[in-house]
Amino acid sequence: MARVSIRIPTPLRPFVDGRSSVDVEAETARGALARLTESNERLRAQLFDDDGELRNFVNVYVGTNNLRDLPDDPALEEGTELSIIPSIAGGRTSEVIEMTGGGAEAERAGLTTDELRRYSRHLLIPEVGLEGQERLKGARVLLVGAGGLGSPLALYLTAAGVGKIGIVDHDVVDFTNLQRQILHDTSSVGTSKLESARARLHAINPNVDVETFETRLDSGNALEILQGWDVVADGSDNFPTRYLVNDAAVLLGVPTVYGAIFRFEGQVSVFGAEDGPCYRCLFREPPPAELAPSCADAGVFGVLPGIVGTIQATETIKLILGQGRPLIGRILLIDALQMQFRELSIHSDPSCPVCGESPTITELIDYEEFCGVNVDRGGSADGVPEMEVTQLQRWLDEGRDFQLIDVREPYEWQICNLEPQGARLTPLGVFPTVVGELDPAIPMVVYCRSGARSANAVEKLREAGFDAINLKGGILAWAEEVDESMPTY
């Protein structure tokens, strides 16, 4: 028997009461290791595998010689020093990491080395990690609209590595969009929003597959377009589309991340998730069309869709990851002017016509009619007389006796108006109080921005006995056809 000492590396010292070396009596090197670990199961598991072989990542040195290079089990002399030397190894993974299992909503897809690098800050978060990032890559998200809400949605979902993004839109980029629709830029004015979006998204992340649907979403195509996506993010700006998206997504069983904006106020929720309410549970019927102005009619604070759309993107990613508490059964109300976020609980309605216990809506309906909207928003209400701007010009030239009424809001009046032509500002809201000042005997021409609000006003004025005529196309038509120097909005 020889008395030898075994040097213990720092990581193994917790197994030997913190000592840096342990003395044992043994005849051979393997005998010494056996003595060291005979009453120390945990240490033995560190050094030997189940077959009693020294583990690959452990080297044992006898003096300055690696035990692996020595005859089978060398005899030891008194005072020999044995050292346990960790084997330090590793390496990057150059292959694509294999797909492992499927996700709740989305399939997981393997990541390339480039993607591991790109998403490294996500990979570090336990809630995302490799599994979550693979889930994102396997996910398919459809965006309805490439406008104010669609912009941050598309940008962040693309940057985050959602594998496939579909976008439905039929508009071209308008100069007035640029104040908030950050997916597009000045150079893309006049071009298709989808072309502009595709180029921008590809520049951000070429790994993302962008599929575009250049069409107006309607009852005839919605089920086909919405089919097969994991999540639908609704960035539409009107009620008919909102109800259409809700109903189609409920019928297909796809959750919808809803967002809506009005001036400084926004709403976000997740509808149509399993056991969660849908849009119709909350809003059974749309508001009257005249109370549902579009951004073009009502204006919108440019940053607001950025806030709301970014929250929608957050909820979309959470649904894909299956992490956190999504906005299911809750609606977030945002007031950017007061900078207040409020939350209301919403519940599934058992009598909901689309997701309730006995649904009455089992296929898509006519949503324009349901929302009481004229397809041609620039046109007139049914049976309302209207005139072209050129005819108005003639009336003015001829010096006819008529009243010219502007039913827009004061801030719109400030941008442009027909005051030199004798127009009088009478916003819709103050109509009841000033209507008595108007002379029913003199014809009146009524205008707004595009002719929609004024058509409703004309209808009511005629019911009240006035000889009212709507100006077709509103002041925008005047600016286009009569006075090109007039600023528009």
Binding site: R7, P11, N66, S87, G91, R92
Partner: protein, 144 residues
């Protein structure tokens, strides 16, 4: 509850030398030993020793030459610099521990990974194996 996290400290001169040394190994994986002292929660790097990469079969693996490590540990035992951990490069890959790194990792030591992109050292991060979870935890690096 405050969590005490240990950190790695490295001087700018040593760090620059380390990065230059690692970049020389590109496109292969360079590796070596981090030496220094321990002060409370801080591990202060005072030097490093490049080690031959003994994993010769593949370019995307490393194995620190056992003899180099034996000498470093013997010197530590004799009162020399502490072996604080190890470094290796990830050529054209993020400085995140790979599955291989994790499987072969030892507790307590710091594993510093340096991303070398097209021959240029770009990003350095430090990791320590958490024995309870079997996962790597990141350790902050303080450049002094």
């Amino acid at each position: 509850m405050s969590v005490t996290r240990t950190q790695l400290e490295i001087g700018s001169k040593i760090c620059a030398d380390l990065l230059a040394s690692v970049a020389q190994g590109y496109p292969g994986e360079a590796c070596g030993i981090l030496l220094g002292r321990i002060e409370g929660d801080r591990r202060v790097v005072e030097g490093f020793r490049p080690a031959p990469n003994r994993w010769s079969e593949r370019e995307d693996r490393y194995l620190v030459d056992p003899e180099s490590l034996r000498r470093a540990l013997a010197a530590e035992e004799a009162g020399g610099a502490r072996v604080l951990g190890f470094y290796h490069s990830h050529p054209d890959a993020p400085p995140l521990p790979s599955e291989t790194d994790r499987e072969l990792a030892w507790p307590w030591y710091y594993y510093v990974i340096i991303r070398v992109a097209v021959g240029k050292p770009e990003e350095t991060r430090a990791w320590e194996l958490d024995v309870d979870t079997g996962r790597f935890e990141e350790r902050p690096i303080r450049y002094t």
